[in-house]
Symmetry: C2
Protein backbone atom coordinates (compact mmCIF):
# COMPACT_ATOMS: atom_id res chain seq x y z
CA UNK A 1 0.00 0.00 0.00
CA UNK A 2 1.23 3.45 -0.88
CA UNK A 3 1.52 6.30 1.59
CA UNK A 4 -1.65 8.41 1.68
CA UNK A 5 -1.63 12.09 2.69
CA UNK A 6 -3.80 11.09 5.67
CA UNK A 7 -1.02 8.84 6.94
CA UNK A 8 1.08 11.93 7.73
CA UNK A 9 -1.05 13.26 10.56
CA UNK A 10 -2.08 9.83 11.77
CA UNK A 11 1.61 8.91 12.10
CA UNK A 12 2.42 12.15 13.91
CA UNK A 13 -0.43 11.58 16.35
CA UNK A 14 0.97 8.13 17.07
CA UNK A 15 4.46 9.53 17.62
CA UNK A 16 2.96 11.93 20.14
CA UNK A 17 1.05 9.08 21.77
CA UNK A 18 4.10 6.88 22.22
CA UNK A 19 6.29 9.79 23.29
CA UNK A 20 3.82 10.52 26.09
CA UNK A 21 3.81 6.84 27.06
CA UNK A 22 7.57 7.02 27.52
CA UNK A 23 8.26 10.42 29.01
CA UNK A 24 6.92 13.60 30.64
CA UNK A 25 9.86 15.60 29.30
CA UNK A 26 8.30 18.30 27.14
CA UNK A 27 11.52 18.93 25.26
CA UNK A 28 11.82 15.28 24.29
CA UNK A 29 8.21 15.21 23.15
CA UNK A 30 8.80 18.34 21.08
CA UNK A 31 11.92 16.81 19.54
CA UNK A 32 10.13 13.55 18.81
CA UNK A 33 7.34 15.34 16.96
CA UNK A 34 9.54 17.74 15.01
CA UNK A 35 12.36 15.33 14.13
CA UNK A 36 9.79 12.74 13.03
CA UNK A 37 8.36 15.45 10.78
CA UNK A 38 11.82 15.77 9.26
CA UNK A 39 12.00 12.02 8.71
CA UNK A 40 8.58 12.06 7.12
CA UNK A 41 9.59 14.93 4.89
CA UNK A 42 12.67 12.99 3.73
CA UNK A 43 10.89 9.68 3.13
CA UNK A 44 7.39 10.65 1.97
CA UNK A 45 7.60 10.97 -1.82
CA UNK A 46 4.66 10.33 -4.17
CA UNK A 47 4.27 6.57 -4.60
CA UNK A 48 6.40 5.52 -1.63
CA UNK A 49 5.17 2.52 0.36
CA UNK A 50 3.50 3.52 3.62
CA UNK A 51 5.64 1.06 5.58
CA UNK A 52 8.87 2.73 4.51
CA UNK A 53 7.77 6.02 6.02
CA UNK A 54 6.16 4.59 9.16
CA UNK A 55 9.15 2.38 9.99
CA UNK A 56 11.58 5.27 9.63
CA UNK A 57 9.34 7.57 11.67
CA UNK A 58 8.84 5.16 14.58
CA UNK A 59 12.55 4.31 14.68
CA UNK A 60 13.35 8.01 15.00
CA UNK A 61 10.69 8.41 17.71
CA UNK A 62 12.08 5.48 19.74
CA UNK A 63 15.58 6.92 19.39
CA UNK A 64 14.55 10.33 20.69
CA UNK A 65 12.42 9.10 23.57
CA UNK A 66 15.27 6.69 24.38
CA UNK A 67 12.91 3.77 24.84
CA UNK A 68 12.81 0.69 22.62
CA UNK A 69 9.49 -0.56 23.94
CA UNK A 70 7.19 2.29 25.03
CA UNK A 71 4.11 0.08 24.63
CA UNK A 72 5.40 -2.55 27.09
CA UNK A 73 2.68 -2.00 29.70
CA UNK A 74 -0.06 -1.83 27.09
CA UNK A 75 1.06 -5.17 25.67
CA UNK A 76 0.70 -6.77 29.10
CA UNK A 77 -2.73 -5.16 29.46
CA UNK A 78 -3.80 -6.47 26.05
CA UNK A 79 -2.73 -9.99 26.93
CA UNK A 80 -4.55 -10.05 30.23
CA UNK A 81 -7.70 -8.58 28.65
CA UNK A 82 -7.65 -11.22 25.92
CA UNK A 83 -7.10 -13.97 28.44
CA UNK A 84 -10.27 -12.87 30.24
CA UNK A 85 -12.40 -13.13 27.09
CA UNK A 86 -10.77 -16.38 25.94
CA UNK A 87 -13.12 -18.90 27.66
CA UNK A 88 -16.31 -17.17 26.42
CA UNK A 89 -14.83 -16.95 22.92
CA UNK A 90 -13.98 -20.65 22.95
CA UNK A 91 -17.56 -21.51 23.96
CA UNK A 92 -18.93 -19.40 21.10
CA UNK A 93 -16.62 -21.03 18.54
CA UNK A 94 -17.44 -24.59 19.54
CA UNK A 95 -21.11 -24.25 20.54
CA UNK A 96 -23.62 -26.65 18.91
CA UNK A 97 -20.93 -29.00 17.62
CA UNK A 98 -19.96 -27.14 14.45
CA UNK A 99 -18.24 -28.77 11.50
CA UNK A 100 -14.48 -28.17 11.28
CA UNK A 101 -15.14 -25.68 8.49
CA UNK A 102 -17.73 -23.75 10.53
CA UNK A 103 -15.48 -23.78 13.61
CA UNK A 104 -12.66 -22.46 11.41
CA UNK A 105 -14.89 -19.64 10.19
CA UNK A 106 -15.77 -18.72 13.77
CA UNK A 107 -12.12 -18.92 14.87
CA UNK A 108 -11.16 -16.57 12.04
CA UNK A 109 -13.91 -14.20 13.16
CA UNK A 110 -12.54 -14.28 16.73
CA UNK A 111 -9.04 -13.56 15.39
CA UNK A 112 -10.37 -10.64 13.34
CA UNK A 113 -12.13 -9.24 16.40
CA UNK A 114 -8.79 -9.59 18.18
CA UNK A 115 -7.45 -7.00 15.78
CA UNK A 116 -9.46 -4.43 17.75
CA UNK A 117 -6.54 -4.54 20.17
CA UNK A 118 -4.65 -1.46 19.25
CA UNK A 119 -3.59 1.61 21.08
CA UNK A 120 -2.73 4.96 19.58
CA UNK A 121 -4.55 4.61 16.26
CA UNK A 122 -6.07 8.03 15.72
CA UNK A 123 -9.76 8.11 16.54
CA UNK A 124 -9.72 4.41 17.30
CA UNK A 125 -9.67 3.17 20.84
CA UNK A 126 -11.26 0.06 22.22
CA UNK A 127 -10.28 0.12 25.86
CA UNK A 128 -9.79 -3.03 27.90
CA UNK A 129 -12.93 -2.08 29.83
CA UNK A 130 -15.21 -2.55 26.82
CA UNK A 131 -13.40 -5.31 24.94
CA UNK A 132 -15.68 -8.08 26.30
CA UNK A 133 -18.75 -6.26 25.07
CA UNK A 134 -17.10 -5.39 21.75
CA UNK A 135 -16.15 -9.02 21.26
CA UNK A 136 -19.73 -10.28 21.73
CA UNK A 137 -21.27 -7.55 19.56
CA UNK A 138 -18.90 -8.09 16.66
CA UNK A 139 -19.07 -11.88 16.95
CA UNK A 140 -22.85 -11.83 16.49
CA UNK A 141 -22.56 -9.28 13.68
CA UNK A 142 -20.07 -11.54 11.86
CA UNK A 143 -17.54 -10.85 9.11
CA UNK A 144 -18.21 -8.12 6.55
CA UNK A 145 -15.90 -9.85 4.09
CA UNK A 146 -15.84 -13.62 4.56
CA UNK A 147 -13.51 -15.67 2.36
CA UNK A 148 -13.06 -18.36 5.00
CA UNK A 149 -14.60 -21.11 2.84
CA UNK A 150 -11.88 -20.64 0.22
CA UNK A 151 -9.19 -20.30 2.89
CA UNK A 152 -10.34 -23.57 4.50
CA UNK A 153 -9.21 -25.49 1.41
CA UNK A 154 -5.68 -24.09 1.60
CA UNK A 155 -4.47 -24.91 5.12
CA UNK A 156 -1.81 -27.43 4.22
CA UNK A 157 1.16 -25.18 4.92
CA UNK A 158 0.18 -21.86 6.50
CA UNK A 159 2.45 -18.91 7.23
CA UNK A 160 0.67 -16.82 9.85
CA UNK A 161 1.98 -13.25 10.24
CA UNK A 162 0.96 -12.04 13.70
CA UNK A 163 0.13 -8.49 14.69
CA UNK A 164 -0.66 -7.28 18.21
CA UNK A 165 -0.38 -8.70 21.69
CA UNK A 166 -3.79 -9.59 23.10
CA UNK A 167 -4.94 -10.37 19.58
CA UNK A 168 -2.41 -13.24 19.42
CA UNK A 169 -4.28 -15.09 22.18
CA UNK A 170 -7.41 -15.17 20.01
CA UNK A 171 -5.26 -16.19 17.01
CA UNK A 172 -4.60 -19.46 18.80
CA UNK A 173 -8.17 -20.59 18.01
CA UNK A 174 -7.16 -20.48 14.34
CA UNK A 175 -3.93 -22.37 15.09
CA UNK A 176 -5.97 -25.11 16.82
CA UNK A 177 -8.30 -25.48 13.84
CA UNK A 178 -5.46 -25.57 11.30
CA UNK A 179 -3.82 -28.32 13.35
CA UNK A 180 -7.13 -30.24 13.46
CA UNK A 181 -7.27 -30.19 9.65
CA UNK A 182 -3.73 -31.62 9.62
CA UNK A 183 -2.11 -28.40 8.44
CA UNK A 184 1.35 -27.07 9.24
CA UNK A 185 1.80 -23.58 10.80
CA UNK A 186 4.74 -21.20 10.64
CA UNK A 187 4.09 -18.28 12.97
CA UNK A 188 5.86 -15.01 12.13
CA UNK A 189 6.41 -12.35 14.79
CA UNK A 190 8.49 -9.15 14.91
CA UNK A 191 12.22 -9.40 15.36
CA UNK A 192 12.25 -6.61 17.95
CA UNK A 193 9.62 -4.64 19.90
CA UNK A 194 7.57 -2.22 17.81
CA UNK A 195 4.21 -0.76 18.81
CA UNK A 196 2.12 -3.45 20.57
CA UNK A 197 3.26 -6.18 18.17
CA UNK A 198 4.10 -9.72 19.21
CA UNK A 199 7.81 -10.57 19.58
CA UNK A 200 9.68 -13.79 20.53
CA UNK A 201 9.51 -12.70 24.17
CA UNK A 202 5.71 -12.78 23.98
CA UNK A 203 5.80 -16.11 22.14
CA UNK A 204 7.74 -17.61 25.03
CA UNK A 205 5.69 -15.95 27.75
CA UNK A 206 2.45 -17.22 26.22
CA UNK A 207 3.84 -20.69 25.29
CA UNK A 208 2.86 -20.17 21.66
CA UNK A 209 5.59 -22.53 20.45
CA UNK A 210 3.38 -25.44 21.61
CA UNK A 211 0.57 -24.27 19.34
CA UNK A 212 2.47 -24.05 16.04
CA UNK A 213 5.13 -25.98 14.12
CA UNK A 214 7.77 -23.28 14.07
CA UNK A 215 8.22 -19.60 14.81
CA UNK A 216 10.14 -17.17 12.61
CA UNK A 217 10.68 -13.45 13.00
CA UNK A 218 10.71 -10.50 10.62
CA UNK A 219 14.30 -9.98 11.71
CA UNK A 220 13.85 -6.39 12.84
CA UNK A 221 11.49 -3.84 14.38
CA UNK A 222 9.98 -2.61 11.09
CA UNK A 223 6.28 -1.79 10.92
CA UNK A 224 4.84 -4.91 9.27
CA UNK A 225 7.42 -6.83 7.22
CA UNK A 226 10.44 -5.07 5.68
CA UNK A 227 11.57 -7.45 2.94
CA UNK A 228 15.03 -5.92 2.66
CA UNK A 229 15.63 -6.69 6.33
CA UNK A 230 13.89 -10.09 6.42
CA UNK A 231 15.77 -13.36 7.09
CA UNK A 232 16.18 -15.69 4.13
CA UNK A 233 14.17 -18.46 5.82
CA UNK A 234 11.18 -16.12 6.12
CA UNK A 235 11.29 -15.34 2.40
CA UNK A 236 11.47 -19.08 1.68
CA UNK A 237 8.56 -19.76 4.02
CA UNK A 238 6.46 -17.19 2.14
CA UNK A 239 7.42 -18.83 -1.18
CA UNK A 240 6.45 -22.32 -0.04
CA UNK A 241 3.22 -21.43 1.80
CA UNK A 242 -0.10 -22.90 0.66
CA UNK A 243 -1.66 -19.84 2.31
CA UNK A 244 -0.23 -16.74 3.99
CA UNK A 245 -2.50 -15.33 6.70
CA UNK A 246 -1.70 -11.71 7.48
CA UNK A 247 -3.12 -9.99 10.55
CA UNK A 248 -3.80 -6.28 10.82
CA UNK A 249 -3.21 -3.12 8.84
CA UNK A 250 0.57 -2.80 9.10
CA UNK A 251 1.10 -6.29 7.66
CA UNK A 252 -1.38 -5.45 4.89
CA UNK A 253 0.46 -2.20 4.14
CA UNK A 254 3.77 -3.99 3.68
CA UNK A 255 2.80 -7.45 2.32
CA UNK A 256 0.52 -5.90 -0.31
CA UNK A 257 3.60 -4.22 -1.78
CA UNK A 258 5.13 -7.56 -2.85
CA UNK A 259 3.83 -10.08 -5.34
CA UNK A 260 3.14 -13.22 -3.35
CA UNK A 261 0.26 -15.38 -2.38
CA UNK A 262 -2.27 -16.65 -2.01
CA UNK A 263 -2.65 -14.37 0.98
CA UNK A 264 -5.60 -13.78 3.31
CA UNK A 265 -5.81 -10.48 5.12
CA UNK A 266 -7.54 -10.62 8.49
CA UNK A 267 -8.13 -7.18 9.94
CA UNK A 268 -10.42 -4.44 11.12
CA UNK A 269 -10.41 -1.52 8.68
CA UNK A 270 -9.57 1.07 11.32
CA UNK A 271 -8.77 3.89 8.93
CA UNK A 272 -10.04 5.26 5.62
CA UNK A 273 -6.69 4.88 3.88
CA UNK A 274 -6.45 1.11 4.33
CA UNK A 275 -10.18 0.59 3.76
CA UNK A 276 -10.00 2.52 0.50
CA UNK A 277 -6.87 0.71 -0.66
CA UNK A 278 -8.68 -2.61 -0.13
CA UNK A 279 -11.81 -1.36 -1.88
CA UNK A 280 -13.77 -1.58 1.38
CA UNK A 281 -15.33 0.72 3.97
CA UNK A 282 -13.91 1.83 7.30
CA UNK A 283 -15.19 -0.21 10.26
CA UNK A 284 -15.35 -3.59 8.50
CA UNK A 285 -14.38 -6.97 9.96
CA UNK A 286 -12.42 -8.52 7.12
CA UNK A 287 -11.16 -11.96 6.05
CA UNK A 288 -10.20 -11.24 2.45
CA UNK A 289 -8.34 -13.72 0.28
CA UNK A 290 -6.15 -12.37 -2.52
CA UNK A 291 -4.39 -14.61 -5.00
CA UNK B 1 -2.03 30.20 23.94
CA UNK B 2 1.18 28.40 23.12
CA UNK B 3 1.51 25.79 20.40
CA UNK B 4 0.96 22.27 21.77
CA UNK B 5 2.50 19.16 20.16
CA UNK B 6 -1.06 18.02 19.39
CA UNK B 7 -1.61 21.11 17.25
CA UNK B 8 0.85 19.73 14.70
CA UNK B 9 -1.23 16.82 13.51
CA UNK B 10 -4.52 18.63 13.96
CA UNK B 11 -3.23 21.41 11.70
CA UNK B 12 -1.99 18.93 9.09
CA UNK B 13 -5.35 17.18 9.06
CA UNK B 14 -7.03 20.52 8.45
CA UNK B 15 -4.63 21.34 5.61
CA UNK B 16 -5.58 18.02 4.06
CA UNK B 17 -9.26 18.77 4.59
CA UNK B 18 -9.13 22.16 2.90
CA UNK B 19 -6.89 20.91 0.10
CA UNK B 20 -9.50 18.27 -0.71
CA UNK B 21 -12.22 20.91 -0.62
CA UNK B 22 -10.34 22.85 -3.27
CA UNK B 23 -8.87 20.24 -5.60
CA UNK B 24 -8.75 16.62 -6.76
CA UNK B 25 -5.17 17.08 -7.96
CA UNK B 26 -3.15 14.54 -5.96
CA UNK B 27 0.10 16.35 -6.61
CA UNK B 28 -1.26 19.61 -5.22
CA UNK B 29 -2.60 17.82 -2.15
CA UNK B 30 0.80 16.18 -1.63
CA UNK B 31 2.54 19.53 -1.98
CA UNK B 32 0.10 21.22 0.38
CA UNK B 33 0.73 18.60 3.08
CA UNK B 34 4.49 18.45 2.71
CA UNK B 35 5.17 22.16 2.24
CA UNK B 36 2.92 22.95 5.19
CA UNK B 37 5.06 20.50 7.17
CA UNK B 38 8.06 22.62 6.18
CA UNK B 39 6.32 25.78 7.34
CA UNK B 40 5.41 24.11 10.62
CA UNK B 41 8.98 22.96 11.07
CA UNK B 42 10.24 26.52 10.55
CA UNK B 43 7.70 28.23 12.81
CA UNK B 44 7.05 25.71 15.60
CA UNK B 45 9.61 26.44 18.30
CA UNK B 46 9.04 25.76 22.00
CA UNK B 47 6.90 28.57 23.42
CA UNK B 48 5.67 29.95 20.10
CA UNK B 49 2.05 31.15 19.99
CA UNK B 50 -0.23 28.64 18.26
CA UNK B 51 -1.68 31.38 16.04
CA UNK B 52 1.71 32.19 14.54
CA UNK B 53 2.11 28.63 13.30
CA UNK B 54 -1.47 28.10 12.18
CA UNK B 55 -1.64 31.37 10.25
CA UNK B 56 1.60 30.60 8.41
CA UNK B 57 0.48 27.05 7.69
CA UNK B 58 -2.94 27.98 6.30
CA UNK B 59 -1.46 30.77 4.17
CA UNK B 60 0.94 28.26 2.61
CA UNK B 61 -1.91 25.80 2.04
CA UNK B 62 -4.08 28.43 0.31
CA UNK B 63 -1.10 29.42 -1.85
CA UNK B 64 -0.48 25.85 -3.00
CA UNK B 65 -4.09 24.93 -3.65
CA UNK B 66 -4.43 28.29 -5.43
CA UNK B 67 -7.68 29.08 -3.71
CA UNK B 68 -8.20 31.94 -1.27
CA UNK B 69 -11.55 30.69 0.01
CA UNK B 70 -11.80 26.87 -0.09
CA UNK B 71 -14.53 26.90 2.56
CA UNK B 72 -16.84 29.14 0.49
CA UNK B 73 -19.57 26.54 0.00
CA UNK B 74 -19.41 25.40 3.62
CA UNK B 75 -19.88 28.98 4.77
CA UNK B 76 -23.08 29.23 2.71
CA UNK B 77 -24.23 25.90 4.13
CA UNK B 78 -23.54 27.07 7.70
CA UNK B 79 -25.54 30.26 7.16
CA UNK B 80 -28.56 28.49 5.73
CA UNK B 81 -28.47 25.89 8.51
CA UNK B 82 -28.35 28.60 11.18
CA UNK B 83 -31.19 30.48 9.52
CA UNK B 84 -33.36 27.38 9.82
CA UNK B 85 -32.78 27.06 13.57
CA UNK B 86 -33.10 30.81 14.20
CA UNK B 87 -36.88 31.00 14.86
CA UNK B 88 -36.87 28.08 17.34
CA UNK B 89 -33.82 29.56 19.08
CA UNK B 90 -35.54 32.93 19.38
CA UNK B 91 -38.61 31.30 20.97
CA UNK B 92 -36.40 29.51 23.50
CA UNK B 93 -34.56 32.69 24.44
CA UNK B 94 -37.69 34.77 24.99
CA UNK B 95 -40.08 32.13 26.35
CA UNK B 96 -41.87 32.89 29.66
CA UNK B 97 -41.01 36.62 29.55
CA UNK B 98 -37.49 36.46 30.97
CA UNK B 99 -35.73 39.42 32.56
CA UNK B 100 -33.19 41.18 30.34
CA UNK B 101 -30.43 39.49 32.30
CA UNK B 102 -31.93 36.03 31.88
CA UNK B 103 -32.57 36.64 28.16
CA UNK B 104 -28.93 37.76 27.85
CA UNK B 105 -27.78 34.53 29.50
CA UNK B 106 -29.87 32.48 27.07
CA UNK B 107 -28.66 34.51 24.08
CA UNK B 108 -25.06 33.89 25.14
CA UNK B 109 -25.87 30.18 25.41
CA UNK B 110 -27.30 30.23 21.87
CA UNK B 111 -24.17 32.01 20.62
CA UNK B 112 -21.95 29.43 22.33
CA UNK B 113 -23.93 26.62 20.74
CA UNK B 114 -23.39 28.41 17.43
CA UNK B 115 -19.69 27.73 17.89
CA UNK B 116 -20.47 24.10 17.01
CA UNK B 117 -20.40 25.35 13.43
CA UNK B 118 -17.01 24.25 12.31
CA UNK B 119 -15.74 22.04 9.57
CA UNK B 120 -12.43 20.27 9.45
CA UNK B 121 -11.63 20.24 13.16
CA UNK B 122 -10.12 16.82 13.72
CA UNK B 123 -12.58 14.42 15.28
CA UNK B 124 -15.19 17.15 15.52
CA UNK B 125 -18.01 17.36 13.05
CA UNK B 126 -21.54 18.51 13.65
CA UNK B 127 -23.14 18.21 10.26
CA UNK B 128 -25.95 20.48 9.10
CA UNK B 129 -28.27 17.47 9.30
CA UNK B 130 -27.98 17.21 13.07
CA UNK B 131 -27.47 20.84 14.06
CA UNK B 132 -31.15 21.36 15.01
CA UNK B 133 -31.02 18.45 17.40
CA UNK B 134 -27.61 19.49 18.74
CA UNK B 135 -28.93 22.98 19.38
CA UNK B 136 -31.88 21.77 21.45
CA UNK B 137 -29.84 19.24 23.43
CA UNK B 138 -27.12 21.71 24.34
CA UNK B 139 -29.59 24.49 25.08
CA UNK B 140 -31.36 22.37 27.69
CA UNK B 141 -28.02 21.20 29.10
CA UNK B 142 -26.88 24.82 29.52
CA UNK B 143 -23.46 26.39 29.94
CA UNK B 144 -20.68 24.44 31.68
CA UNK B 145 -18.95 27.71 32.58
CA UNK B 146 -21.40 30.58 33.04
CA UNK B 147 -20.00 34.04 33.77
CA UNK B 148 -22.92 35.79 32.08
CA UNK B 149 -24.06 37.54 35.29
CA UNK B 150 -20.72 39.34 35.53
CA UNK B 151 -20.67 40.04 31.81
CA UNK B 152 -24.16 41.55 31.99
CA UNK B 153 -22.80 44.42 34.11
CA UNK B 154 -20.17 45.33 31.50
CA UNK B 155 -22.10 45.87 28.29
CA UNK B 156 -21.58 49.60 27.95
CA UNK B 157 -19.06 49.40 25.09
CA UNK B 158 -18.61 45.89 23.75
CA UNK B 159 -16.08 44.74 21.13
CA UNK B 160 -17.42 41.48 19.74
CA UNK B 161 -14.85 39.37 17.85
CA UNK B 162 -16.78 37.02 15.54
CA UNK B 163 -15.76 33.56 14.49
CA UNK B 164 -17.60 31.33 11.99
CA UNK B 165 -20.36 31.81 9.48
CA UNK B 166 -23.60 30.20 10.65
CA UNK B 167 -22.56 30.95 14.21
CA UNK B 168 -22.76 34.69 13.46
CA UNK B 169 -26.52 34.41 12.89
CA UNK B 170 -26.98 33.16 16.44
CA UNK B 171 -24.59 35.88 17.69
CA UNK B 172 -27.23 38.44 16.65
CA UNK B 173 -29.36 37.41 19.66
CA UNK B 174 -26.55 38.74 21.84
CA UNK B 175 -26.32 41.93 19.75
CA UNK B 176 -30.07 42.50 20.27
CA UNK B 177 -29.77 42.09 24.03
CA UNK B 178 -26.75 44.39 24.29
CA UNK B 179 -28.68 47.04 22.36
CA UNK B 180 -31.68 46.58 24.68
CA UNK B 181 -29.44 47.34 27.68
CA UNK B 182 -28.32 50.52 25.90
CA UNK B 183 -24.85 49.21 25.10
CA UNK B 184 -22.65 49.99 22.11
CA UNK B 185 -21.30 47.20 19.85
CA UNK B 186 -18.20 47.06 17.66
CA UNK B 187 -18.28 43.88 15.62
CA UNK B 188 -14.88 42.55 14.46
CA UNK B 189 -14.63 40.19 11.50
CA UNK B 190 -11.69 38.86 9.44
CA UNK B 191 -10.05 41.13 6.90
CA UNK B 192 -9.97 38.37 4.28
CA UNK B 193 -11.42 34.85 3.93
CA UNK B 194 -9.88 32.26 6.23
CA UNK B 195 -11.49 28.93 7.16
CA UNK B 196 -15.24 29.42 7.66
CA UNK B 197 -14.77 32.76 9.42
CA UNK B 198 -17.01 35.78 8.90
CA UNK B 199 -15.71 38.51 6.58
CA UNK B 200 -17.12 41.89 5.44
CA UNK B 201 -18.76 40.12 2.50
CA UNK B 202 -20.77 38.01 4.96
CA UNK B 203 -21.57 41.08 7.07
CA UNK B 204 -23.12 42.73 4.02
CA UNK B 205 -24.91 39.62 2.80
CA UNK B 206 -26.51 39.08 6.21
CA UNK B 207 -27.19 42.80 6.86
CA UNK B 208 -25.25 42.65 10.10
CA UNK B 209 -24.42 46.37 9.94
CA UNK B 210 -28.00 47.08 11.03
CA UNK B 211 -27.51 45.05 14.20
CA UNK B 212 -24.36 46.74 15.54
CA UNK B 213 -22.87 50.23 15.83
CA UNK B 214 -19.82 49.66 13.69
CA UNK B 215 -17.88 46.90 12.02
CA UNK B 216 -14.09 46.62 12.01
CA UNK B 217 -11.85 43.95 10.54
CA UNK B 218 -8.70 42.18 11.69
CA UNK B 219 -7.06 43.63 8.57
CA UNK B 220 -5.91 40.28 7.18
CA UNK B 221 -6.63 36.56 6.85
CA UNK B 222 -4.76 35.50 10.00
CA UNK B 223 -6.19 32.75 12.18
CA UNK B 224 -7.82 34.71 15.00
CA UNK B 225 -6.30 38.18 15.47
CA UNK B 226 -2.70 38.92 14.43
CA UNK B 227 -1.81 42.06 16.36
CA UNK B 228 1.14 42.95 14.17
CA UNK B 229 -1.18 43.07 11.15
CA UNK B 230 -4.17 44.67 12.89
CA UNK B 231 -5.45 48.17 11.98
CA UNK B 232 -4.82 50.90 14.54
CA UNK B 233 -8.54 51.52 15.05
CA UNK B 234 -9.00 47.87 16.11
CA UNK B 235 -6.24 48.17 18.71
CA UNK B 236 -7.89 51.36 20.00
CA UNK B 237 -11.30 49.67 20.11
CA UNK B 238 -9.82 46.88 22.25
CA UNK B 239 -8.26 49.45 24.58
CA UNK B 240 -11.51 51.36 25.07
CA UNK B 241 -13.86 48.38 25.40
CA UNK B 242 -15.85 47.87 28.61
CA UNK B 243 -15.91 44.20 27.60
CA UNK B 244 -14.34 42.22 24.75
CA UNK B 245 -16.38 39.20 23.74
CA UNK B 246 -14.30 36.65 21.85
CA UNK B 247 -15.92 33.77 19.97
CA UNK B 248 -14.28 30.42 19.34
CA UNK B 249 -10.93 28.74 19.80
CA UNK B 250 -8.83 30.64 17.25
CA UNK B 251 -9.71 33.99 18.80
CA UNK B 252 -8.91 32.53 22.23
CA UNK B 253 -5.57 31.23 20.98
CA UNK B 254 -4.52 34.66 19.73
CA UNK B 255 -6.24 37.10 22.13
CA UNK B 256 -5.01 35.18 25.16
CA UNK B 257 -1.45 36.00 24.07
CA UNK B 258 -1.94 39.72 24.72
CA UNK B 259 -2.61 41.51 27.96
CA UNK B 260 -6.02 43.09 27.54
CA UNK B 261 -9.43 42.88 29.02
CA UNK B 262 -11.79 42.34 30.55
CA UNK B 263 -12.48 39.66 27.98
CA UNK B 264 -15.14 36.95 27.86
CA UNK B 265 -14.42 33.83 25.85
CA UNK B 266 -17.46 32.17 24.35
CA UNK B 267 -16.66 28.81 22.83
CA UNK B 268 -17.03 25.07 22.68
CA UNK B 269 -13.85 23.36 23.89
CA UNK B 270 -13.44 21.22 20.79
CA UNK B 271 -9.93 20.03 21.50
CA UNK B 272 -7.84 18.96 24.51
CA UNK B 273 -5.18 21.62 23.90
CA UNK B 274 -7.51 24.59 24.25
CA UNK B 275 -9.52 22.96 27.05
CA UNK B 276 -6.34 22.29 29.01
CA UNK B 277 -4.99 25.80 28.41
CA UNK B 278 -8.24 27.22 29.86
CA UNK B 279 -8.16 24.81 32.80
CA UNK B 280 -11.33 23.12 31.52
CA UNK B 281 -12.40 19.82 29.96
CA UNK B 282 -12.97 19.03 26.30
CA UNK B 283 -16.64 19.17 25.26
CA UNK B 284 -17.65 22.13 27.47
CA UNK B 285 -19.96 25.00 26.52
CA UNK B 286 -18.09 27.99 27.86
CA UNK B 287 -18.77 31.66 28.68
CA UNK B 288 -15.67 32.48 30.72
CA UNK B 289 -14.78 35.99 31.82
CA UNK B 290 -11.11 36.86 32.34
CA UNK B 291 -9.94 40.19 33.66
Amino acid sequence: MKMDPRCTYCLLSRVHYEAELATDDKDKIYRAITECMDVMRNTYKPGVAAGVVSTAVHRKAYEIIENNDPYYNLKELSNSTAQKVYPAAKDLIYQNEPSLKEAFRRAILAAVIGNYFDFGVMGFDVGEDVFDETFMNVFYKGLDVDDTSEMFKMLDNVVYVADNCGEIILDTFVFDLIKKTGGNITLVVRGEPILTDVTMADVRQLNLEDKVDRVLTTGCNAIGVAFDEAPQELLEAFDKASLIISKGMANYETLSERKMGPIAYLLQTKCESVAQDMGLEKGYSVAKLMR
